[in-house]
């Protein structure tokens, strides 16, 4: 093997690295390495002059490999590999030494930091010294997308992608599309009716020739990689044929089972056979298997007897379908933080204490009270209503540390709507701060206070309980320093947003990361906000973090644009850092065949053979092979040994 000609480029990152690491010393130490023929430092290696300097050095010094000592490879590995390719040598000969996140930012002592930066850089130099020139492997692309979650995020992303010509499979676990937005009465700051802006989109989705809607379905398993995923989707039986069902409502009239209605958040009841709401999509009934007396027609069978269209079929069984897609958008949304967790507000057991979504249903024309604000306990018009913000949010000691972002606005909206419904009523709002960043938002809050006359009290409510048929609310107004006691007819809690249960499940199935609060983790908080760390999987909506409708729609559009860009390519490139077999060393013991999680290795004529398209380069095979006969390219045993040595020198 001829000796490598490596160039080392050490970045100051302004002062981010240079403050803790003696950059000049790193350059000097690296130039003493056997394979290094060129080294330099620069204040911003990733800038245009920085990248050009690398290209120039590669050409001037006939470099065949590059090490950039800079920030994390998750940030700029691609930048520098692309740059290396531009200079005419394989991008895979370029290695990143992470001396910022793993060194300069976590150590203060300059000597210590410099020593460690030298070790990390030297380790990368040794690895680069044995890197092969590799070219990406071209793989075919499936020009179809799966969207998980049929709320506004999923709907918007599906429409954008389908309108660009991609085939979309939209999977929703509930019996109807729409998500939480469907439950809202009006939306801030324009007070548009939520259903009036959402329903047409739902209809468009259901009629779009490029979109296949799969409601009452769950994604169970996903395999493959970007460009070629295989998703196993469970179709739960609805026991009603949507083609035959004419939504005549005869079945619910005879069904003897009454259970709380989830869509109305328990404010009303529904039957075991039900339609989530009148304009549901698909427009068909669903038989709730858990609530039903039993699918044995001898036990009940009333709905089947009543159905003149003969749409009900008790023999439906769960079905699994496999869909092949090139990309996935995860839009699994949020749940409200459980009221049961809030001790000081009665664990959700105090009557007439509602959560924000329940209040939406009270205000909604299609809700339980046909749009009249009536308190649940006695159906009287509440005259004193207390709204409490930040319930469960901004409370690192007991609940969620983060701000749920939308509650200031929706509480202002609630207070406004309440005053519109009950002009002589009094609306009290307890808040910590008002966070009304957004177009027209601050003006909306001001209107709520000044024109609609909501009374804003800066402080928290310490306790509430039932007292003389009312809810006694004990709080403090920290601006006047007075304790406040209100005998409220109704209390509305602005509960925190948390990632939905489906979000946790989707993350597990897709093997994508979540942040400390359980929201889906984006690849980079600023520069790649709609991508997961896994190529080909994109994020949209509140599953990624608390956000309102305009932001959700924008993010869904962004995710769609990313998918469209990805799938517009004729072929995708698969990383060539895959396993390679040294046939002379292989004894055909099949240890690697068993270890491979992707079934990418098989035995041919007594020797292991790797399917390079299936191989993801995880290296499980390397670690099991007794003879080092199988290795991942550019992460070989010799390379790791040399890196270890560099780390300990």
């Amino acid at each position: 093997m001829t000796k490598k000609r490596t160039g080392v480029f050490v970045c100051h990152c302004g002062n981010n690295i240079a403050a803790t690491v003696d950059v000049a010393r790193v350059v000097k130490e690296m130039s003493a390495e056997e394979t290094v023929v060129y080294s330099q430092d620069y204040v911003y290696m990733c800038s245009d002059p920085g990248q050009n300097a690398v290209i120039q050095a590669i050409k001037d010094n006939q470099l065949d490999s590059v090490v950039v000592s800079c920030c994390s490879p998750s940030l700029h590995e691609k930048t520098f590999r692309d740059n290396t390719t531009r200079a005419g040598i394989s991008g895979f000969t370029c290695e990143i030494a992470n001396i910022r996140e793993q060194c300069a930012w976590v150590h203060k002592d300059r000597d210590v930091g410099t020593e460690k930066a030298i070790k990390i850089s030297r380790s990368a130099v040794r690895r680069a010294g044995r890197n092969q020139s590799l070219e990406p492997i071209a793989v075919p692309v499936t020009r179809r997308v799966m969207v998980i979650g049929g709320g506004i995020a999923g709907i918007q992303a599906s429409l954008d992608m389908a309108n660009a010509g991609l085939e979309v499979i939209l999977v929703e676990r509930q019996a109807t599309l729409g998500g939480h937005m469907l439950q809202l009465s009006e939306t801030f700051p324009t007070l548009d009716c939520s259903q009036c802006i959402l329903s047409p989109k739902m209809v468009e989705v259901s009629r779009h020739p490029k979109i296949k809607v799969m409601t009452y379905c769950e994604v169970q398993e996903v395999s493959g990689s970007v460009g070629n995923f295989k998703a196993k989707i469970l179709k739960k039986p609805t026991f009603v044929d949507p083609e035959k069902c004419n939504i005549c409502d005869d079945c619910t009239q005879v069904c003897p089972v009454v259970v709380p209605n989830e869509y109305e958040l328990g404010l009303t009841a529904r039957r075991a056979i039900y339609i989530p709401y009148a304009q549901a999509i698909p427009a068909s009934y669903t038989l709730d298997e858990e609530a039903c007396l039993g699918l044995n027609p001898i036990r009940c069978g009333k709905c089947k007897d009543a159905c003149e269209a003969d749409a009900i079929n008790y023999d439906m069984r769960p079905e699994t379908v496999v869909e092949e897609v090139g990309a996935i958008v995860v839009a699994t949304g949020f749940d409200l933080y459980p009221q049961e967790n809030i001790a000081e507000y009665g664990y959700g057991k105090v009557e007439d204490v509602l959560d924000g979504l329940q209040f939406e249903r009270l205000c909604s024309a299609s809700g339980a009270t046909s749009g009249h604000v009536l308190r649940p306990s006695d159906h009287k018009v509440p005259k004193d209503v207390v709204f409490i913000q930040c319930v469960g949010s901004r409370d690192p000691a007991q609940h969620c540390a983060y701000c749920s972002k939308i509650c200031c606005m929706y509480t202002a909206k609630h207070a406004t709507l309440y005053k519109h419904h009950v002009p002589d009523g009094r609306a009290y709002v307890f808040y910590i701060d008002i966070r009304s960043g957004g177009k027209g938002y601050e003006e909306f809050v001001q209107r709520t206070m000044e024109e609609d006359g909501a009374i804003y009290l800066r402080g928290r409510v310490s306790k509430l309980y039932r007292h003389n048929g009312k809810v006694k609310v004990l709080g403090t107004d920290t601006l006047t320093g007075q304790n406040v006691e209100i005998d409220a007819d109704m209390v509305v809690l602005a509960l925190a947003m948390q990632p939905s249960k489906g979000t946790a499940q989707a993350a597990k199935v897709l093997k994508i990361g979540r942040d400390k609060d359980g929201f889906l983790a984006e690849a980079h908080p600023k520069l790649r906000p709609v991508e997961s760390v896994t190529a080909g999987i994109f994020l949209a909506g509140a599953a990624q973090g608390p956000k309102d409708i305009p932001e959700t729609v924008a993010q869904a559009g962004a995710a769609a644009a990313k998918v469209i860009a990805l799938l517009s390519q004729a072929t995708l490139s698969h990383a060539p850092t895959v396993a390679r077999v040294r046939r002379s060393h292989c004894t055909g013991c099949e240890m690697c065949v068993t270890a491979c999680p992707y079934h990418a290795i098989r035995l041919e004529n007594g020797k292991a053979v790797v399917n390079e398209v299936l191989c993801e380069g995880c290296g499980s095979c390397t670690a099991t092979c007794l003879r080092a006969a199988i290795e991942v390219k550019n992460a070989t045993q010799m390379q790791v040994f040399e890196m270890i040595e560099a780390c300990l020198a």
Partner: protein
């Protein structure tokens, strides 16, 4: 005595690319300070760590070896961390057999969201290694 106080264990930290290396990045982004004893080597997956890597590190003078991967069940490569976990038990037994304290090899699960945990893992490991003193059982150039 002063020599013992000055002893700083040398650690090789094998971090999986998807979780623990990203976790160490988060520690950096959060500016959480921790000892510089552990030099990281990012590998695709904790499951790619051959026992030879660990023995080689001890052979080249490491006082401790850290292997950190995704939480069990969360492996980016489906099941690599299960393979790693199984191997670690065996290697610990092997180390004990040849007279190296098994505590010099540590496995941790650090997700991409656990920057603070990564810093703590390194802190704890350094503190636990100090009383053991330098490792020279497997060191090539024993003095």
């Amino acid at each position: 005595m002063s020599e013992e106080q000055a002893y700083e264990p040398k650690i090789v930290a094998f971090l999986c690319k998807w979780c623990s290396s990203a976790g160490s990045d988060l520690a950096g982004v959060s500016r959480i300070q921790y000892p510089a004893n552990a030099t990281p080597i990012t590998v695709p997956c904790s499951g790619s760590i051959s026992p030879l890597y660990i023995l080689s590190a001890f052979n080249k003078g490491a006082d401790g070896v850290l292997l950190s991967g995704c939480h069990i069940g969360d492996c980016h490569y489906i099941e690599g961390n299960y393979l790693a976990r199984r191997k670690i038990y065996l290697i610990k037994e092997l180390l004990e057999m040849v007279g190296v304290e098994p505590d010099r090899l540590r496995m941790s699960w650090v997700s991409a969201a656990e920057g603070a945990k990564y810093a703590q893992v390194v802190k704890d490991f350094v503190a636990d290694l100090k009383p053991l003193g330098p490792q020279d059982k497997l060191k090539a150039d024993r003095t």
